[in-house]
């Protein structure tokens, strides 16, 4: 077999290379030749092609993502911003929290179990690489129509994969979403988020500095996972006798990852690393070039030292392999022995594969022969940037003009009742416990709130009861009607959910799921959504700490709804003050906070009753959201509210039903003056929540709302065993519970 060395490449400038098969554009290949002053070797070509891919280089999205940095609000909490593996925020008492959401959409459609499992594995390693102990995971999910046969293949596999991996790592699952819409039929969205906790001084960054420091690869052996594309290099260009088919699917081993976590945390504790990076997409290519690029010097790697699972792998394939459960650390020479000892203790394979050098090049050798000699920045950070054309689609006006307010409304109590039952039993509004019961929410013994609460919450300090909360939200229907507003609504909802749990929202991460950036309409949606999100974060004072972009979620010409998913992280000084959603005691007074308007565009009601999507989404008022958040947080801190539930899709009636079922108590509701029963129950106006106030606190609470200028309307009382909308209809909890809980098992079990 002929090795394509740097020397050989210099001597054979005209040798044909499969740059096209590797997804590079002609001008990109030309640029690589220009950077190197010669043709790239096969290994170099492999590295550039994967690092300059959309997935790794964000070439279509980065001109838009820039806004998150430019519009960053003043926020003292921010410790590490965009650009690292994950952002870090200060949560007080010397603690820092890192969190991030990522997508694993495409792999999960091909192989739902492994795709979702390795999605969890990847995000957990990102968090670990920041120096943090992972403490919880969340999983915002979107599938095709609930009754489509393929959903029965994809959903159970995805859920089992997330559970199978996350449960095995000992990470409580504290939240997420499950949404069904036929637009996701061929493109399910599997987003996964993780939260990690550390002390300020333990923050680690992915950079390689200090010439002479060793590069250690540790974790699983390297196999042929996820290198389907690059095998063209190995097979067609260099050696035709090789197997041409390498698996494009990565298989995860959560047990190995659990060992990797414990081992890495012990290594952190002894302060043995100078820099660290997880191996995710693009494997070693990414880890070595990013570490070297962020550091001060160069790096030399001897690739044959890598422990292999498959001895036939070529050096190009080793560089590209996406085998899971691996990390790369930069370690000062005097710490290497201890580092390897800790790995041995945890049965983790570790090997020194190279060192940081004085130079400025990333140099990779294969049995002594040089196969890579590149400026690392050119691989990792100086990939192409596209200014893709974007244009408001011509159908947008017609869509927005198709006002949901014109849809026929229920005429009497009986019809209202019927529609409420249809709503709470519809797949999107039904209980998701068949899914969430497959996730361990108790492990680690710090879970304060988990599903079906508004936000997940974990205690991070047993002595002081400091805690953090997280909620994730996104509504593709709203974003389709208006991507700018839709993105802000996702932000507002997650913000509101965190505040409703009693925690103060601090910062956000996002996962932007869109169709093909080559379609100007999709690119417009993307541009609008990022602009909306950046403006919204600026106004709310919650910086974007990091996130992920997933493009090409598209079947043929048809893209998914634009689906920006937002995760908001909050902090609570004392988890004892957390607010649950349950209406737990008869006699509690129910107050509706905020203004209710006739807003039905993109609503759950319009979907469930009329299969309609049109009009404008609910209006956003972020100052109002902020005020509502302050009231919810003060109310929880000062013991003025016993329960709170944010109002979002499904409107007031959905929230009341959930809180009643959770608490095992009914509610008597009175339609407030100035509203009709239908709007009262089904409107999806933003900036609202329903709270249960103990009688003894009523005056104090309403005074507070009055003084701060937040509309608070008494709408009823917790009472009986039915949801009773006076003068309209009553539905017993038994009937509601049956309707709410039977749907998902009926479709999937």
């Amino acid at each position: 077999m002929s090795l394509d060395t740097v020397k050989h490449a210099s001597e054979t400038p005209d040798s044909e290379q499969p740059w096209k098969e590797l997804g590079l554009k002609e001008d990109e290949y030309a640029r690589i030749r220009e950077i190197l002053g010669r043709r790239p070797t096969g290994a170099e070509l492999a590295m550039y092609s994967v690092m300059w891919s959309e997935h790794c280089s964000y070439k279509s999205s980065k001109v838009h993502l820039k806004q998150f940095g430019e519009k960053t609000p003043e926020n003292d909490a921010m410790l590490v911003g965009i650009g690292e593996n994950a952002g870090v925020v200060d949560v007080g008492q010397g603690y820092a929290v890192t969190f991030k959401v990522e997508s694993h959409n495409h792999p999960s459609y091909i192989e739902p179990y492994q795709g979702a499992a390795t999605g969890v594995g990847g995000i957990v390693r990102d968090i670990l690489a920041m120096g943090a102990r992972p403490v919880a995971v969340v999983d915002p999910l979107r599938f095709g129509a609930a009754d489509h046969p393929d959903t029965k293949r994809v959903l159970p596999g995805v859920v089992a994969g997330i559970g199978g991996y996350g449960n095995c790592l000992g990470l409580p699952n504290i939240g997420g979403e499950v949404v069904f819409d036929s637009c996701y039929q061929g493109n399910p969205l599997v987003n996964a988020g993780c939260i990690g906790v550390m002390k300020h001084e333990d923050i680690h960054l992915a950079k390689a500095s200090g010439p002479g420091n060793k590069v250690i690869l540790y974790g699983a052996r390297t196999g042929g996972d996820g290198i389907g594309g690059v095998s063209v290099l190995a097979s067609e260009t260099f050696d035709d006798t090789k197997p041409t088919k390498r698996p494009a699917v990565q298989v995860g081993d959560p047990f190995q990852e659990k060992l990797l976590i414990e081992c890495t945390l012990e290594i952190f504790q002894e302060k043995l690393v100078a820099g660290i990076q997880d191996l995710g997409g693009a494997g070693l290519s990414c880890a070595t070039s990013e570490l070297a690029s962020a550091g001060s010097g160069g790096m030399r790697v001897d690739l044959e030292k890598v422990h292999l699972r498959d001895a036939t792998l070529s050096p190009e394939e080793i560089l590209m392999s996406e085998s899971q459960e691996r990390m790369c650390a930069i370690v000062e020479p005097q710490h290497v022995d201890r580092f390897l000892e800790i790995c041995e203790k945890w049965d983790v394979i570790a090997v020194v594969i190279g060192e940081v050098t004085e130079g400025e090049r990333l140099e990779i050798f294969w049995h002594g022969e040089q196969i890579v000699d590149v400026p690392p920045r050119s691989v990792a950070h100086e990939g192409p940037t596209y200014h893709r054309p974007f244009a408001r689609p011509e159908w947008q006006d017609a869509l927005q003009a198709d006002d949901a307010g014109k849809l026929p409304r229920p005429q009497d109590g009986a019809e209202l009742k019927d529609q409420v039952l249809k709503l709470v039993s519809s797949p999107n509004q039904a209980s998701k416990s068949w899914i969430t019961d497959q996730y361990d929410r108790f492990v680690q013994g710090n879970t304060v709130l988990a599903q079906p609460e508004d936000a997940g919450m974990v205690r991070i300090d047993e002595e002081t009861n400091l805690g953090v909360a997280m909620a994730t939200d996104g509504n593709g229907r709203y974003a389709k009607l208006d991507p700018y507003t839709g993105a802000q609504l996702a932000l507002a909802e997650a913000y509101r959910n965190v505040a409703a749990s009693g925690a103060k929202p601090l910062a956000i991460s996002d996962c932007l799921n869109f169709g093909s950036p080559e379609d100007p309409a999709v690119m417009w949606q993307f541009a609008e959504a990022t602009r909306g999100l950046a403006d919204g974060c600026f106004q709310l004072g919650t910086p974007v700490t990091g996130g992920n972009v997933s493009l090409y979620n598209q079947t043929g010409e048809v893209a998914i709804h634009p689906t920006p998913v937002v995760a908001v992280l909050g902090v609570i000084d004392d988890v004892n003050r957390r607010t649950p959603i349950a209406f737990a005691e008869e006699g509690q007074l129910l107050y509706l906070l905020g203004d209710t308007k006739e807003e039905f565009g993109g609503s759950a009601w319009s979907e469930v009753i009329h299969q309609h999507l049109g009009g404008m989404p609910p209006a956003v008022d972020l100052d109002r959201e902020k005020l509502l958040g302050e009231i919810l947080i003060s109310g929880s801190r000062d013991g003025m509210i016993d329960a709170a539930h944010d109002l979002s899709d499904g409107g007031l009636v959905q929230a009341v039903v959930e809180s009643c079922l959770r608490g095992g108590n009914g509610a008597r509701l009175v339609v407030p003056e100035g509203l009709d029963a239908f709007t009262f129950l089904f409107s999806e106006s933003a900036g609202r929540a329903v709270v249960a106030v103990p009688r003894s606190e009523e005056l104090r609470f309403t005074d507070m709302c009055g003084a701060r200028g937040l509309p608070a309307t008494r709408i009823g009382v917790v009472d009986g065993d039915a949801v009773d909308v006076q003068g309209e209809f009553a539905l017993s909890l038994t009937e509601l519970r049956e309707a709410h809980e039977a749907t998902i098992p009926g479709l999937l079990a």
């Binding site: 095995c168 060992l259 497959q438």
Partner: protein, 226 residues
């Protein structure tokens, strides 16, 4: 003087910190034990905590059972040392033949996590004396391989000798024969169950109930009074 309660960490153990916390909250001195060490550090009792030791590969508990620490534990348990196996710990105890029967994949084939009602059937074991016989408690349950099986003769024997220590109430979450959630050996020092009492020891956390604390106070009283 308080008692020392050891909690073993195998590779893949997940609930060791929780079990240590529960022992501490009950007033005992928690001691971490490591799977590669035969030395039990003079503990008075051992908890085998939940998790996926060795990834639950092959069968849950099958690989851990052969670890060095288990050699000592098996020997000492036979000599009367109290041992509590929770979830994966229970699976290890059956694989090690310290308790009869075996654990299989849940009958519905899914991982299940829920607040589970139990009845304490035997309040005379080393780990249950702070409960009363027939008492109903609620603790979290979370597992993939929680279906208890044994042959009819063994089941009859367990029933006859009062060695069914806990039974599922309301819902049998995994198809366990005769609703068995946990059992004890004849001497009452070795107890195993699938649900997780260590997750129900603080009012705010998990289920919000403290029904599981009794396991740890029971053993503490027994050891301190001994």
């Amino acid at each position: 003087m308080t008692a020392r309660i050891g909690v073993v960490t195998f590779p893949g153990t997940l609930d060791d910190q929780d079990a240590l916390r529960a022992a501490r909250l009950a007033g005992a001195e928690p001691v971490s034990l490591w799977h590669r060490d035969k030395d039990l550090k003079q503990v008075d009792a051992v908890v085998l905590a939940g998790g996926f030791s060795y990834g639950d590969y092959l069968r849950a508990g099958a690989i851990s059972r052969f670890s060095p620490v288990m050699e000592t534990i098996i020997e000492q348990a036979k000599a009367g040392m109290p041992v509590l196996g929770i979830c994966n710990g229970f699976q290890i105890l059956t694989e090690a033949h310290l308790l009869p029967g075996a654990m299989l994949r849940n009958n519905h084939l899914h991982f299940i996590c829920r607040d589970q009602k139990l009845r304490v059937e035997n309040a005379e074991t080393a780990w249950t004396s702070d409960y009363s016989a027939g008492q109903e408690i609620e603790v979290p349950l979370k597992n993939m391989d929680g279906r208890y099986v044994a042959d009819e003769r063994t089941l009859d024997e367990l029933e006859a000798e009062g060695r069914v220590a806990f039974r599922y109430l309301d819902v049998n979450p995994n198809g366990s024969l005769r609703d068995i959630a946990g059992i004890t050996n004849a001497a009452g020092n070795v107890v195993g169950l699938m649900p997780h009492p260590e997750h129900a020891v603080e009012p705010l956390i998990g289920t919000g109930k403290t029904d599981g604390l009794g396991f740890f106070t029971s053993i503490l009283k027994k050891l301190v009074n001994a």
